[in-house]
């Protein structure tokens, strides 16, 4: 019978098969035929259609050759030397502060979009153990560095992207990869909150956007990995929570579009995910937010959100609160200004922060005879500011 394509026999070419549905935890799973036992670095190039992990590929499935890396350091030597020469070293990579010197313990491989796989050599790709330790190093940097957060974020953002690129190029699909992706998702979510907190800087809006974009790409790949590893109806330890992150992202108004609406996304999920607590929680939050039922939204959020879920949602709370203020403003009684204390209770925000939010949205606040702050209603000057709203966290009472 015909082969699928008439490719000439290459060195080490064999048609590949789908992964074994129950991978052993000891050896990493790769999409490789089971007959292969030896793997020497020069002849381990395989051709495979339909790459599983390519994050930037939407439609077609071009033929994609994947390699097995051999680079022992966080950054391949060739790149290290090149960047030393060009003085292209981040502040974290400089040896004793010298912008033209680095070491193998400091330099981390940069993300580079332009390279096609044909030109790459194995020595420039980091194998799984090296990637693991690189990620650990980067996460440690986030916790311990005393540089301003935007600088740290920028560095780690780019270097983790490079880690993901190496994972994709080697088509690593096992449990380790899942752990690493989960770590990266966590990083992006925590960054999401931290970046949003300093809203006064104008270019942070694009940083936030890019961060969210990468977060969504990580999530998308993570979901593909979960799909591959799915055994009957049991879920990975945190699988449901990660799916709930994707849903909760839709609370924000300006997230990058992932191509299809939430309705279509739900169609693809299994029942066990849809019925998990985390998913129910996030779907209900979306419902309350869209309906405008702020009371329940905030009580439920306070009661059930995990730390990471809260991290993800907090930057969106201002917009939701602003909407609530506009409803109150619209539907109130002209002669009776609305007490801010009560509203701040419902919206789980400090009274002073609520006052600030009102002002930012163009509404005045007054004081009544008892000295309580109030919001006169039926003001016509309500508008959402272009630069974004200040982020206030959830105040618990």
């Amino acid at each position: 019978m015909d082969r699928e394509t008439n490719r000439p026999k290459k060195l080490g070419f064999r048609p590949s098969k789908a992964p074994n549905p129950s991978p052993s935890s000891s050896s990493p799973v790769r999409l490789r035929p089971r007959e292969e036992t030896k793997r020497d670095s020069t002849s381990s190039i395989h051709e495979r259609r339909n790459p599983v992990l390519d994050e930037d590929e939407e439609t077609g499935s071009p033929i994609f050759s994947y390699l097995v890396g051999t680079c022992p350091d966080m950054c391949p030597a060739k790149e290290r030397q090149q960047r030393e020469r060009l003085r292209d070293l981040s502040v974290f990579e400089r040896l004793h502060g010298d912008p033209s010197r680095t070491s193998s313990k400091l330099a981390v491989k940069k993300f580079c979009r332009t390279m096609s796989n044909a030109e790459l050599q194995e020595v420039e790709i980091r194998p799984l153990p090296v990637l693991r330790s690189t990620l650990k190093y980067l996460m440690n940097l986030v916790d311990t560095s005393d540089q301003p957060f935007e600088v740290v974020h920028d560095f780690v953002f780019d270097r983790t992207r490079s880690i993901r690129q190496d994972l994709t190029r080697q088509n690593i699909l096992d449990d380790e990869a899942i752990c690493m992706y989960e770590e990266m998702v966590k990083f992006h979510i925590e960054s999401h909150k931290k970046l949003a907190m300093c809203y006064t800087k104008t270019d942070l809006a694009s940083l936030c956007y890019l961060n969210t974009e990468q977060l969504m790409k990580c999530l998308a790949t993570l979901f593909k990995l979960f799909d591959i590893h799915r055994r009957s109806s049991s879920l990975y330890k945190n699988e449901a929570e990660f799916y709930s992150f994707y849903v909760l992202l839709h609370l924000g108004g300006k997230i990058p579009q992932m191509g299809s609406s939430l309705s279509l996304w739900y169609r693809k999920l299994t029942l066990s995910i849809l019925q998990s607590n985390e998913m129910r929680f996030s779907m209900t939050l979306i419902r309350y937010s869209q309906l405008g039922n702020f009371k329940r939204f905030f009580t439920r959020l306070e009661a059930e959100a995990s730390d990471l879920q809260l991290c993800l949602v907090e930057p969106f709370l201002s917009e939701i609160r602003a909407r609530a203020i506009s409803y109150v403003n619209h539907s109130g009684y002209k002669l009776q200004p609305y007490p801010l204390k009560h509203l701040s209770d419902v919206l789980r925000i400090k009274e002073s922060e609520l006052e600030e939010l009102c002002h930012v949205c163009g509404l005045e606040t007054t004081m009544d005879e008892a000295g309580m702050k109030t919001l006169p209603v039926k003001q016509t000057s309500f508008s959402l500011p272009k630069l974004g709203l200040p982020v206030h966290s959830l105040s618990t009472f």
Binding site: A18, N50, S263, R267, L274, G292, K295, S331, Y333, Q336
Partner: protein
């Protein structure tokens, strides 16, 4: 001279009787030879349904086993059948007979009539040579050789191989089609579009059951785009573009890559190459169905209403199943704009999952709505209308408030326009919904904001003061304002 021959009539010469006997024996001999020779052929010349043993052996099972049942087919007959197929193809092309051509290409949708040559191909293994030897067939060798391979593989139940061969043949056919000036072969192109999808689906099923990657349907999508590209443009071939677009929609919906429909829709609607009126109604119905569904997912209810209603109105009256599919999406849309279907409609088209939803909207029973959504959650999530139905909650609240208002009016018309929030809370608690004053106030605020209620809330006095005129305006075909 005794003998029965001479017993009657005048005497017959002896040599004549011997001649007669000889002739008789000769004829008998010939008959026996002929029957012996022709015993090996099947009884009728038309396509013979294979015996059950052949079917059992060939359906995707052991590939190394020979097909002893095929031995019933002689080489001569096999050769005849194949050449018959090939010449029918060439005749159809030269006489521009699209109907015959389509029948020859309909591998999976019309396999019964192609079984004869398919059987023959498994006996006569050298069909390639046959195609290349004869000048008439050789000019279409790029189409015919893979087409024969496809037939052969399909007959053996090897759908993945059949798909690959068909894609080759279809590519070559498309090339030819591009060169033909008129659109005489459009029907054949339709069959090509249909078959590539059907074969890809079958191939993917086969691949997934043996644990391999399913990628054929994606390939079919790319090929359909090629056909679309060949049809898009000025000229009579335009008329087939909508059919191909619908095949693409089916592929994308099946693959879950629905966002890819956007580029197709853009080409059809905004590129100003096409005027929707020039397409056949059947294709327009399918097109409106799929684009209507997309609008439902994006919650553009007004447009979704237009498209799905068009599809319903122009759907052929006897296609009950299609009407049901359209209604499955049209009903949530209509509910979102305040139009309720009648009970008999739900019963007739077996859409009773919407029954409780409709009742909840009629009576303002929020508990019923929530229950209906829970009960059919899986179904609604799969079809993608869950979020649309969830949003109906607001209209249910409106209905409930209106009921309270009406009751109050009956009791004391002068005070009816003042609705105590406490009353609303009591009503909702009575319905089994756990609600407090703050939440009820929230709901009232949103009802007023979205213009489902006219009035204002006095937070201090915990009362909603309704407008004296039409405090609960109907939606009247417009979706809830956002």
């Amino acid at each position: 001279m005794p003998g029965p021959v001479t017993a009657w009539g005048p005497s017959i010469p002896r040599w004549f009787t011997w001649l007669l006997r000889l002739l008789f024996l000769l004829v008998a001999f010939l008959i026996s030879v002929v029957t012996f020779f022709f015993r090996r052929l099947p009884v009728s010349h038309r396509s013979l349904p294979p015996s059950s043993s052949i079917r059992e052996r060939s359906l995707g099972q052991s590939r190394q086993e020979p097909f002893p049942a095929m031995a019933y087919l002689s080489m001569g007959e096999a050769h005849r059948r194949i050449t018959d197929y090939l010449s029918r193809f060439c005749d159809a092309v030269s006489s521009q007979d699209a109907a015959t051509l389509s029948a020859l290409l309909a591998i999976s949708s019309n396999f019964a009539s192609l079984q004869a040559p398919a059987d023959a191909l498994n006996v006569f293994q050298d069909s390639n040579q046959l195609v290349n030897q004869v000048e008439r067939y050789a000019q279409f060798a790029e189409i015919l050789s893979p087409l024969l391979r496809c037939l052969q593989s399909y007959r053996l139940g090897r759908y993945s191989d059949a798909y690959v061969a068909f894609e080759k043949a279809a590519n070559a056919f498309l090339q030819e089609f591009r060169n033909w000036e008129t659109a005489w072969a459009m029907e054949a192109v339709y069959i090509l579009a249909l078959e590539i999808r059907l074969l890809a689906e079958k191939a993917d099923r086969e691949l997934s059951s043996s644990g391999k990657n399913t990628e054929k349907l994606q390939g079919a999508g790319s090929f359909l785009m090629k056909i679309f590209g060949a049809l898009a443009g000025k000229g009579p071939k335009r008329v087939g573009a909508l059919y191909v677009a619908c095949q693409l929609f089916k592929v994308y919906f099946k693959l879950g890559t629905v966002h890819l429909c956007r580029s197709v829709i853009r080409s059809i609607e905004t590129a100003r190459l096409f005027d929707l009126d020039e397409f056949p109604v059947k294709d327009k119905v399918t097109y409106m169905y799929y684009t209507g569904r997309l609008e439902v997912y994006n919650e553009n209810f007004t447009v979704a209403d237009q498209k799905l209603t068009y599809a319903l109105m122009h759907c052929s009256p006897n296609k009950e199943a299609n009407k049901r599919m359209i209604l499955k999406y049209l009903i949530p849309v209509k509910l979102s704009i305040g139009i309720l279907p009648k009970q008999w409609l739900l019963e007739k088209y077996n859409l009773m999952e919407y029954n409780e939803v409709v009742k909840a909207l009629k009576t303002g029973d929020l508990r019923l709505l929530r229950r209906a959504l829970r009960e059919h959650e899986d179904r609604f999530l799969r079809s993608g209308v869950y979020l649309v139905l969830e949003k109906l909650e607001l209209q249910v609240y409106q209905r409930l408030m209106k009921k309270i208002y009406v009751l109050q009016k009956q009791k004391d018309p002068s005070k009816a326009h003042q609705l105590k929030i406490e009353t609303a809370v009591k009503a909702l608690n009575w319905l089994g919904m756990d609600m407090d004053m703050d939440e009820a106030e929230c709901i009232m605020a949103i009802l007023i904001f979205k213009n489902l209620t006219k009035g204002y809330i006095s937070h201090k006095n915990k009362v909603v003061v309704l407008s004296k005129q039409d405090p609960f305006p109907k939606l009247n075909g417009k979706p809830v304002s956002s």
